[in-house]
C-alpha cells in the first residue's frame, strides 16, 4: 500500500508539471492581457507602458516568463497579483475561509440529506417514496444551477416578505448583515439560500448514486446471509450494505471536494459571497496571470490528491481491492 501511494505521488509530479505548462500557455492566449487595463489612458506614454510591462515581468519571451514562474514556485513563492500587487497567497488567504465555509456546510448538508434518502429509496424500491425521490432527484439533477439560484432569490428574497417587518424573507446576498456584530443566527440566515442552492443540486446527484449502488448491494448473497444469520436490520444496512455501496459515492465526493478550495463560481456570484469562485472569475477578467496560475494549480493538485485519497478509501471500504 505504501509503495502504491508513493508511486502515485511520483506519477503526479510530471502530470502537474504538464498541467502547469498547458494552463500557462492557455492563459497567455487570452486576448488583451493584463496590459489592456492601461490601453485607453491618454496620459500614458510609450515609456510608461514599457516601464509597467517590465515591472510586471511581461517584457520577456513567454518561456522565460514560465521558467521564472516555476523557479519562484519551487522556492515557495507564488508571486504577486498583477492587479492588486499583493502577494497571491494573501489574496487567496482573504477568500479561502469564506469558500471553505460555504462549500463545507453545503457538502455536509448534501451528505446528510442525500445518503439516508438514497438508502431508504433503495430499500423501498418502487414504493411511492422511491418514485417521489427518483423524480425529484432527476429534476434536481437537470435544473441548471444558476437558474435555480435566481428562482430562489425571486421567491425568497423578492416575493416573500417577513409578515412582521416587511423585509425580505431571506437576504439576497452577502455573508452577514453589514454593520451588525457577528451572530450565528445571522450567519445561518445568510447561508440558507446559497447552501440551499448548492445542496439541492448536489444532493440530487448523490441520492441517485447512493440509491443505485445500494440497490446493487442489497441484492447480493452476503446481505441475504447476514439477514439469515439474524443480524439486526440496521446493522445489515449500515455495516454490510452501506460500506460496500459507498465506493461510487466516495468517488464523486472526492471529485467534488477540491471545490472547497476552488469555490462555486455561480453560487458565489449570485449571492455576493466573497469566496474563491469570485476571486477566480474576477482574476480571469483582469487576466491576472499570477493569481490565475495559483488558483488553477492548487485546484489541480487537490484534484490529483483527492483522487488518490478516493482510491485509498476503496481499499478500506472493500477489502477485495488490493493495491500492490
Amino acid at each position: 500500500m505504501g509503495a502504491y501511494v508513493l508511486r502515485r505521488l511520483l506519477q503526479a509530479v510530471p502530470l502537474l508539471w504538464l498541467i502547469s505548462v498547458m494552463v500557462f500557455l492557455l492563459l497567455h492566449v487570452i486576448p488583451g492581457g493584463p496590459m489592456a487595463a492601461y490601453e485607453n489612458n491618454p496620459d500614458m506614454t510609450a515609456e510608461d507602458q514599457q516601464r509597467l510591462e517590465h515591472d510586471l515581468g511581461l517584457d520577456v519571451p513567454l518561456h522565460v516568463q514560465y521558467v521564472r514562474w516555476l523557479a519562484a514556485l519551487l522556492h515557495g513563492d507564488w508571486g504577486y497579483s498583477l492587479a492588486s500587487k499583493r502577494p497571491v497567497l494573501v489574496e487567496i488567504g482573504d477568500r479561502l475561509p469564506n469558500t471553505v465555509y460555504l462549500i463545507g456546510v453545503a457538502t455536509l448538508v448534501t451528505l446528510v440529506l442525500a445518503v439516508p434518502i438514497g438508502i431508504f429509496s433503495a430499500l423501498r424500491q418502487y414504493s411511492t417514496l422511491d418514485h417521489v425521490v427518483t423524480t425529484v432527484a432527476f429534476m434536481g439533477h437537470s435544473i441548471p444551477i444558476f437558474w435555480f439560484g435566481l428562482i430562489l432569490i425571486i421567491v425568497f428574497h423578492v416575493t416573500l416578505r417577513n409578515p412582521w417587518t416587511g423585509a425580505p424573507l431571506f437576504p439576497g446576498g452577502g455573508m452577514y448583515t453589514l454593520g451588525m456584530p457577528f451572530s450565528l443566527l445571522d450567519r445561518i440566515y445568510h447561508l440558507a439560500l446559497p447552501v440551499g442552492m448548492l445542496a439541492v443540486a448536489n444532493a440530487a446527484t448523490y441520492t441517485r448514486y447512493t440509491r443505485a449502488s445500494m440497490l446493487e448491494v442489497i441484492g447480493q448473497d452476503f446481505i441475504r446471509t447476514a439477514r439469515a444469520k439474524g443480524t439486526p436490520e440496521p446493522r445489515v444496512i449500515w455495516k454490510h450494505g452501506l460500506k460496500n455501496a459507498a465506493s461510487p459515492v466516495v468517488t464523486i465526493l472526492a471529485l467534488d471536494l477540491p471545490a472547497l478550495f476552488a469555490g462555486a463560481v455561480f453560487t458565489e456570484t449570485m449571492f455576493s459571497w466573497p469566496g474563491m469562485g469570485r476571486l477566480f472569475i474576477e482574476s480571469a477578467f483582469r487576466v491576472d496571470y499570477a493569481l490565475l496560475m495559483a488558483i488553477i494549480m492548487v485546484t489541480a493538485t487537490l484534484t490529483v490528491a483527492f483522487n488518490l485519497l478516493a482510491d485509498v478509501a476503496y481499499a478500506y471500504l472493500d477489502p477485495r481491492i488490493r493495491y500492490g
Partner: protein, 565 residues
C-alpha cells in the same frame, strides 16, 4: 449511543463550531440606520493607491479619503480644495512663463492620523510618482517637474523644466510621507489598502470581496463635517444585484447605471435617479488611411487614403444620414444629448450645432462623389475620387461584443446607411481585442479597420485627449511603439497648430480659443462622427440629503455634506 458515535458527533460538532468561529465580527457596531449609508459598487478596487489604480471603482472609494490641491466643480472648473486658491497669472500663483506654480496649503491641515500636512508631503508625492520602481500608471505632468521647493511648510513651489499646460490637473492626490513608505516599494505599501488622507472620511477596514468601511475623519478641517457616521462600500458581483438592493433599500447609493436601467428604477419607490450630461461621447472613428497599411504615418496616409472614407463627401454623407435624435429617443430613453464634438461640456466647451438628419442631401453628396446606385440599392464607384470603378460602397463597422445598446445602435446605423446606398457590415470583437495594445497587434492601433464605434472622453483638462486623438504626431506606428490615439490618422495643419498653442499657453482663455479652433476643424473634417453624448447615471435612496451630481469628479465628491433625512 455508543462511545465512538458520541466521539464522532462531538468531532463533527467541533468542526462545525470551528468553521462558524473563524469569522471575525464585522467591526462596525453602530446600527445601519444611525447615520450610516451603504454604497454599492459592482467592481472591487484592485488597489486604492491613486497613482497605481486604473479603475474608476478605485477613485469612487478614494474620493472619500484622498484629496489634492484642487477639486472640480459640477461646471467643470477648478476649485480650491487643500490649496487656498486656484493658482493663476492674476493671483501670482503662475509665473510669466507658466513654468513655476505656487500653491498655498490651507492653514492647520492635518492627516487623518493627526500629523500636519506640509509641503514635504507634496514633494514626496512627486518623488514617489517619478521613481522608476513606483509602478505609477502615468508620469505625464510629473516627469516634466524639475523640483518642488518648500519655502515654508504651507507653501509648495512646483518648478517645471518645460511648460506643461494641464498643470492644474496634477496633484489630485497628496500622499502622506510619514504613512506610506519607500517609493521603490510603492506597489506594496500598506497604504494602498488602508489610505491615510485629508478627506472627510477615513478607512476602518476592507474585507476582501465584501465591503470597505469608512468612518469620519476626526481631523477633518471643517467643523461639524462629515455629517454621516459612516459609509459602507458594499461590493456586489454585478450591477443587477445592486439594482435589486437599492430597490429593497439595502443600499443607499448605486454607482454607474446604463440608460436601460433607468425606467425600472424611476418607478421604484424611494429611489432617485441622478442623470447628468457627461464628457463621454459615443462616436464613430473613421479611418482616413488605406486599411491595408500597417500603422502608416502622415505622409503615407496622404499618399494612400482610404478608398472610400478618404473622400470628405462620403464622411459628410454618413453623418447626415444618421438620425441621431431617433437613436437617443429609441434606444437611450431620451437620456443623452445629440453628439456634437469632443468638447461639448466643461470649461473648454466649444459649442457647435449637431448635424441635421438629411438623407436627401447625403444621397446627393454620394452622387457627386462618384458613387452611383447599383441594382440592389447599394452604390458602386463610378468615377469616385479614390476607389476603383466597380468598388461597392461597403464598410466594416466594429464595436465591442456583448454590449446590447451598441448592437442595437449598429442595427439602426445599418438601416440609415442602407437608405443612402451604403452598406455597413458588422464584425464585433471582445473589448480587449478592440482596445488591445500595439504589441498585441490590435487592429485599431495598427489601422486595419474602416469604422469603429466606442466611447471616450476628455479629462477636465482636455490637452491629452485633444493631442492624443487629433494631433498628426499622435498616429500609432512602429516608430513610436504604437503610442498615441490618432486612429483616424487625421492630419490638419490648423488643428496641429491650435493644439500646440493650447499646450503651450498658461492662459486658460487662450487655450479655450485654441481648442475651439481645433474642434471646428474636427467637426468639418469628421475624423470622428459624434453620435450621442452620454449622461452619468447613478441612483440613490431619497433618505439621502445633499447629493449633487458632478461628472468631473467621483460621486462622493461632496460626501462631507451628505446626511440622512
Amino acid at each position: 449511543m455508543k462511545t465512538t458515535d458520541v466521539r464522532r458527533s462531538l468531532v463533527t460538532a467541533g468542526l462545525v463550531a470551528a468553521l462558524l468561529a473563524t469569522w471575525p465580527a464585522p467591526a462596525f457596531p453602530q446600527g445601519k440606520r444611525g447615520g450610516v449609508i451603504t454604497f454599492a459598487l459592482y467592481q472591487e478596487p484592485e488597489t486604492l493607491n491613486p497613482y497605481i489604480a486604473t479603475q474608476t471603482a478605485s477613485s469612487e472609494v478614494e474620493v472619500f479619503v484622498v484629496e489634492g490641491f484642487l477639486g472640480r466643480s459640477p461646471e467643470g472648473e477648478y476649485t480650491p480644495r487643500l490649496a487656498t486658491e486656484v493658482p493663476s497669472r492674476q493671483n501670482g500663483g503662475v509665473s510669466a512663463d507658466g513654468r513655476t506654480i505656487t500653491y498655498h496649503l490651507k492653514p492647520g491641515l492635518k492627516w487623518s492620523d493627526g500629523q500636519p500636512v506640509t509641503c514635504e508631503d507634496v514633494r514626496f508625492t512627486w518623488q514617489a510618482i517619478v521613481h522608476p520602481q513606483s509602478g505609477a500608471v502615468s508620469t505625464t505632468g510629473y516627469r516634466e517637474i524639475d523640483g518642488v521647493d518648500c519655502p515654508s511648510p504651507a507653501t509648495a513651489v512646483i518648478r517645471y523644466k518645460t511648460f506643461y499646460a494641464p498643470f492644474l490637473s496634477r496633484f489630485t492626490a497628496i500622499m502622506p510621507k510619514h504613512a506610506t513608505g519607500d517609493p521603490a516599494e510603492m506597489p506594496r505599501w500598506a497604504y494602498n489598502r488602508k489610505l491615510v488622507g485629508t478627506g472627510p472620511f477615513t478607512m476602518l477596514e476592507w474585507v476582501s470581496g465584501d465591503h470597505i468601511t469608512l468612518i469620519p475623519n476626526r481631523y477633518y478641517r471643517q467643523a461639524g463635517r462629515p455629517r454621516l457616521d459612516g459609509v459602507i462600500v458594499r461590493i456586489t458581483p454585478s450591477r443587477e444585484v445592486g439594482k435589486q438592493l437599492i430597490k429593497t433599500g439595502e443600499v443607499d447609493v448605486l454607482w454607474d447605471l446604463t440608460e436601460a436601467d433607468v425606467p425600472e428604477l424611476r418607478t421604484a419607490s424611494g429611489v432617485v435617479v441622478s442623470s447628468e450630461p457627461s464628457p463621454y461621447a459615443e462616436r464613430l472613428v473613421v479611418n482616413f488611411a488605406d486599411p491595408a497599411l500597417d500603422g502608416p504615418l502622415p505622409d503615407a496616409v496622404e499618399k494612400n487614403p482610404h478608398p472610400i472614407l478618404g473622400d470628405p463627401r462620403v464622411r459628410e454623407a454618413i453623418e447626415l444620414g444618421i438620425n441621431k435624435k431617433e437613436i437617443i429617443d429609441k434606444l437611450l430613453f431620451g437620456l443623452a444629448d445629440m453628439g456634437t464634438n469632443e468638447l461639448h461640456i466643461g470649461w473648454a466647451k466649444c459649442a457647435t450645432r449637431p448635424s441635421e438628419y438629411d438623407p436627401a442631401r447625403a444621397r446627393q453628396l454620394l452622387d457627386q462623389a462618384g458613387w452611383k446606385v447599383g441594382a440592389d440599392g447599394i452604390r458602386v464607384a463610378q468615377g469616385a475620387k479614390y476607389a476603383k470603378d466597380g468598388t461597392r460602397l461597403r464598410l466594416k463597422l466594429q464595436t465591442t461584443t456583448g454590449n446590447k445598446l451598441r448592437e442595437q445602435v449598429e442595427q439602426l446605423l445599418i438601416d440609415y446607411m442602407k437608405q443612402i446606398g451604403l452598406e455597413f457590415f458588422i464584425e464585433n470583437v471582445p473589448s480587449p481585442v478592440l482596445f488591445g495594445s500595439w504589441a498585441s497587434g490590435a487592429f485599431r492601433k495598427h489601422g486595419h479597420f474602416d469604422v469603429v464605434m466606442y466611447t471616450t472622453n476628455p479629462d477636465v483638462d482636455p490637452q491629452s485627449q485633444m493631442e492624443g486623438y487629433f494631433a498628426s504626431w499622435s498616429m500609432p506606428s512602429a516608430a513610436n511603439n504604437g503610442a498615441g490615439f490618432n486612429y483616424a490618422r487625421w492630419a490638419s495643419k490648423t488643428a496641429d497648430d491650435a493644439i500646440k498653442l493650447a499646450g503651450s499657453s498658461p492662459d486658460l482663455t487662450v487655450r479655450k480659443k485654441a481648442y475651439c479652433t481645433a474642434v471646428n476643424e474636427i467637426v468639418k473634417d469628421r475624423p470622428h462622427i459624434y453620435l450621442y453624448s452620454r449622461n452619468n447615471i447613478h441612483a440613490y435612496r431619497d433618505r439621502l440629503v445633499g447629493w449633487v451630481g458632478n461628472v468631473w469628479d467621483n460621486l462622493g465628491w461632496n460626501a462631507e455634506d451628505w446626511s440622512l433625512r
